[in-house]
């Protein structure tokens, strides 16, 4: 009977399969479409501007033919690093607590709350950065040292935004470490903190590393917070209290105005987009390689 059924054509199932194939195809084709568009438009850009100038010149002002990505790039890196400095320790610590220390009841309440944080629209975070965090920074460090728009406040709030992502991924990694390892360590007389830091964390290293990198690439691509709070003009500076514009923030600001197509300004946006795409793609590939390389198989 089983074999008879296997040979039978089932149109309903075929339909479902086709639909699933179609769904997978749409996302693959979308990705391809994005890559093609980015490539085509940035090709037009790089016909006018040499990639060397693009990557090394120190000024970005397309209207007067200054095409150095560095000011936008450094602002992106500075905001992302600040975000990681907040999100990494806090995310990892909360993951360790959730997975190793928290009683089951507390965990079942706190984890969903943490995930709510991730559900707040990033434009709300941006407004929060501009209206609450920046004034606080200016109170603490002095209004003249801290600009109204600055990368510090954008970075801090971005750290809060990606904290749930990092915490949740780390927690998954820590929880998947088998209990037998913890119990073995306890049997040898290890304390709880020793087990957490010396046994569980190293065992989950690949998962933790992947979480950090995914968080970092999320920070690099984050847009609304930096567009609102970091600044609205390219500025080559490493000082986090100064205004500076990130790659994503610049794209938002310029494409918001009525830019004429086929202008070099328009194409330059695609070159920035392509660079962003390559950076996040690179980071994601790095993360999957790390996972494979350091994966402990139990």
């Amino acid at each position: 009977m089983g074999t008879a059924l296997a040979g039978k054509k089932r149109p309903g199932e075929m339909m479902v399969q086709l639909f699933l194939l179609f769904a997978a195809g749409v996302s693959v084709l979308t990705t391809l479409g994005i890559v093609v568009t980015l490539g085509k438009e940035s090709f037009l850009f790089f016909r006018e501007v040499s990639p060397i100038e693009f990557l090394t010149a120190r000024k970005w002002q397309p209207q007067i033919e200054e095409f150095g990505i560095l000011p936008l790039f450094t602002a992106t890196v500075v905001t992302s690093l600040i975000a990681m400095m907040i999100a990494l320790p806090a995310g990892l610590a909360s993951a360790v607590w959730l997975s190793e220390y928290a009683p089951e009841k507390a965990r079942s309440v706190i984890k969903p709350i943490l995930e709510i944080l991730a559900g707040i629209p990033s434009v709300v975070y941006g407004f929060f950065a501009l209206q609450s965090v920046t004034p606080a920074l200016r109170n603490v460090f002095g209004g003249e040292r801290v600009d109204v728009y600055n990368t510090m406040s954008a970075g801090i709030v971005m750290g809060v935004l990606i904290l749930p992502l990092i915490s949740s991924m780390c927690e998954d990694a820590l929880s998947s470490v088998p209990h037998s390892m913890r119990e073995g360590a306890y049997a040898l007389g290890a304390t709880k903190i020793e087990v957490s830091l010396n046994i569980v964390m190293p065992a989950a290293f690949s998962g933790l590393a992947a979480a950090f990198i995914v968080g970092f690439s999320r920070a690099i691509g984050e847009t609304m917070i930096v567009a609102l709070a970091a600044g609205a003009g390219p500025n080559l500076t490493l000082n986090p209290f100064r205004a500076a514009e990130t790659m994503t923030g610049h794209i938002v600001r310029i494409s918001g105005g009525d830019l004429s197509y086929d202008s070099i300004d328009y194409n330059s946006l695609f070159a920035i987009g392509l660079l962003l795409f390559l950076i996040t793609l690179g980071l994601n590939m790095l993360s999957s390689r790390l996972v494979r390389k350091y994966r402990e198989v139990y």
């Binding site: 007067i64 209004g143 609205a232 100064r242 205004a243 918001g256």
Partner: protein, 327 residues
């Protein structure tokens, strides 16, 4: 059968409308006139039919929008299109005969008059509707900067790094600049007046923040005593408690200096229309009449300054001359 009667009726009405538009009194005349100068005849917007096409300056745009709002509120049911494509673009289309009204924040050039005259078969009439004073602002916390010369303005918005580079007695603190984006007409006007149309000096300046959103600029400037920026007077007016407008060469931007044309960054706002359009399209005559009669009811709210009374009267007289016998 019924249908053909309806059709005939429609043709008759259309023929009647054409006959009326080419001669006779305007159909929208009203006994009550809004004109404070008592020069123009009254307009009843409910009796105005037909669409109006206007285009041009983005500075004039909000003013035209406000007047149009009033026109519609009082009963006009047609369509008025107001394209915001810049004075040059508007006058170019005007030269091709595509517009009923061109909006401009500068005077029409001789070459543009020539083209328009050729296209419409009638001379363009200049109608002064108001004045804009571009305001250069610092934070109200700023204690040292009160007055600048035009030359100092050029330094502030280009190669000066510190305030002390502009004037030795000012503090050695970095200038933080907040300016409108390069898409904006205000940016164009400023570079034209201060840098003779060159964009390089201002775009090459350090600590430059740009936004098409003037509220972003207001927030930036008001946040630091060493910040400076500029925008249309309307935004200064709205944020007087947080901002201070610099006087230029000792001249403060206000009604008086704008009237006397002593404020160097004041510019007239115009509309251009031909006498032929006024006569062929009664709705355009009604709109211009309504505009001139009511513009001073909204202009301060929009954030600009009323045109000098003499100029407004001149525009009204031009309207009267062009439409003689129709009112």
């Amino acid at each position: 059968m019924k249908r053909s009667i309806a059709l005939t009726a429609l043709v008759l009405t259309a023929a009647f409308a054409v006959a009326q538009s080419s001669a006779g009194k305007f159909p929208w005349l009203d006994k009550m006139s809004d004109d404070p100068d008592k020069m123009l005849p009254g307009v009843d917007p409910t009796k105005v039919t037909g669409n109006i096409v206007t285009s041009g300056s983005s500075t004039v745009f909000p003013l035209s929008e406000a007047v149009t709002e009033l026109f519609v509120k009082e009963g006009y049911t047609g369509q008025i299109s107001i394209d915001s494509i810049g004075s040059g673009g508007g006058l170019e289309r005007f030269g091709k005969g595509e517009l009923d009204v061109a909006n401009a924040s500068r005077g029409i050039k001789a070459s543009e008059i020539e083209k328009a005259t050729a296209s419409y078969g009638s001379d363009p009439i200049e109608i002064r509707v108001g004045t804009d004073a571009l305001a250069v602002c610092v934070s109200s916390k700023n204690t040292f900067a009160k007055d600048v010369t035009k030359e100092e303005l050029a330094k502030i918005f280009s190669d000066a790094v510190y305030w002390s580079d502009v004037r030795a007695s000012w503090p050695k603190k970095e200038i933080k600049r907040y300016i409108p984006g390069t898409d904006s007409g205000t940016f164009d006007y400023f570079t034209e007046e201060i840098f003779k149309k060159k964009k390089e000096p201002i775009l090459g300046a350090k600590n430059l923040q740009m936004s098409e959103d003037d509220n972003v600029l207001v927030q930036g400037i008001s946040g630091s005593e060493y910040a400076v920026g500029f925008f249309g007077y309307a935004y200064f007016n709205e944020n007087k408690s947080r901002l201070k407008a610099l006087s230029i060469g000792g001249v403060v931007p206000n009604q008086e200096s704008v009237d006397k044309a002593t404020y160097p960054l004041a510019r007239p706002l115009f509309m251009y229309v031909t006498g032929k359009t006024l006569n062929d399209k009664p709705q355009v005559a009604a709109f211009i009449n309504f505009y001139l009669s009511n513009v001073n009811r909204v202009i301060k709210r929009v954030g600009y300054f009323p045109a000098p009374a003499a100029d407004l009267k001149k525009a009204k007289q031009a309207w009267l001359d062009a439409t003689k016998g129709r009112y």
